[in-house]
């Protein structure tokens, strides 16, 4: 505990979207402390009414993302020492989503868009059929595998400048999910999904700023997935079919 007597100066957003302000707290610094630890300390010892969201604490559930010093991060796996600026932290709710209270955003629109971009799997077989044999070396399966580990934390959604300017845009997570399904041999909705993701709010809205790729905590590359969807859209427009 080398930092036992040191205090962190932490500014935390209190209030709702348009009506709120930052409150400042002094939090004891500890070794290997995460941002989620800091927020939890504040709620436990300084501000019991502070609202925030978390569940697994190990980077699997995707529920604890917040803006830390202006950058969207998964707070449970973000070490304070790596993001501290002059001994200070600013913790705010994610951008591009309505704020319910304090650090909690309303994720409805994020998941609605996920469903809107045909993020559902449409199976071609029932549980009574044989399991489809798909080689891991198959190029389409490799495409899907590269993008499949999304935990829906909405860090990319918050980082995306296109959504900030165009609220109709599905966003990186929804399109990344659509890309995995478009590469899934067992899925039957290729054509209808392509119609959806090449239409209003679809992949062609992406300006390739690549913030989604830069900040994805799982190091996925939604920009590459969206570029793949753009290629699919162009191929379909020029040649039709799959």
């Amino acid at each position: 505990m080398e930092n036992i007597n040191r205090k962190l100066k932490v500014r935390v957003w209190r209030g709702t979207q348009g009506d709120g302000t930052f409150s400042t707290y002094e939090v004891p610094a500890q070794e290997s402390q995460t941002i989620l630890d800091v927020v939890t300390w504040i709620q436990q010892y300084a501000e019991p009414t502070l609202a925030y969201r978390f569940a697994c604490r190990v980077g699997m559930c995707g529920s604890c993302a917040m803006n830390v010093n202006g950058i969207p991060r998964w707070t449970c796996r973000t070490h304070v020492q790596k993001v501290l600026e002059d001994g200070e932290l600013e913790i705010a709710p994610l951008r591009n989503l309505p704020v319910v209270k304090d650090l909690v955003t309303d994720m409805s629109e994020f998941f609605d868009k996920w469903v809107g971009a045909e993020g559902r799997f449409h199976p071609s077989a029932t549980r009574d059929d044989e399991i489809a044999a798909i080689s891991p070396a198959d190029p389409k399966r490799a495409n899907a595998n590269a993008a499949i580990e999304c935990i829906n934390c909405a860090v990319c959604y918050s980082a995306c400048d296109t959504i900030a300017q165009n609220p109709a845009y599905f966003g990186p997570a929804a399109l990344n999910r659509a890309w995995t399904l478009q590469n899934d041999e067992r899925d039957t909705a290729f054509k209808s999904r392509l119609e959806t993701i090449s239409g209003r709010g679809g992949c062609t809205n992406c300006h390739s700023h690549q913030s989604c790729m830069t900040y994805c905590p799982n190091e996925l590359n939604p920009t590459e997935s969206i570029a793949g969807l753009k290629r699919m859209t162009t191929r379909s427009f020029l040649f039709g079919g799959r």
């Binding site: 202006g70 705010a92 980082a159 690549q210 590459e224 570029a227 290629r231 162009t234």
Partner: protein, 113 residues
């Protein structure tokens, strides 16, 4: 106010592409009008071409060449993102597009003066 990350390199590259495109779109009708003078009013065209000998106009022309090059190489960068296999060197490509554009524009300016 909550502050959010700003000024990512590739966002700036995108803004440069958009800005250069808008300015070129405004410039093109004027360009075609002047070209059209060759057919409709040769004397007026000659008068205009004399005006282009001014240093300030040459500098402005170099600026236009810069915008044209930025838009072209920036556009090639976007086409590479969307139609070629993914490359991790995205910031290098953006920097190269801008550097080549300045080289083209400076070369134009040096040959014009």
């Amino acid at each position: 106010m909550m502050r959010y990350r700003k000024g990512d390199d590739l966002r700036i590259a995108s803004l440069i592409h958009r800005f250069s495109g808008v300015v070129l779109a405004v410039f093109l009708p004027v360009h075609f009008y002047v070209l059209g003078l060759a057919l409709s009013d040769a004397a007026q065209l000659d008068g205009f071409l004399k005006w282009t000998d001014l240093a300030i106009v040459k500098i402005a022309e170099a600026g236009l060449v810069l915008l044209l090059a930025l838009h072209m190489f920036g556009g090639l960068r976007l086409l590479a993102i969307e139609f070629l296999p993914w490359s991790p060197r995205q910031k290098t490509f953006a920097a190269a597009a801008i550097a080549i554009s300045f080289f083209v524009s400076a070369s134009f300016f040096l040959s014009a003066v």
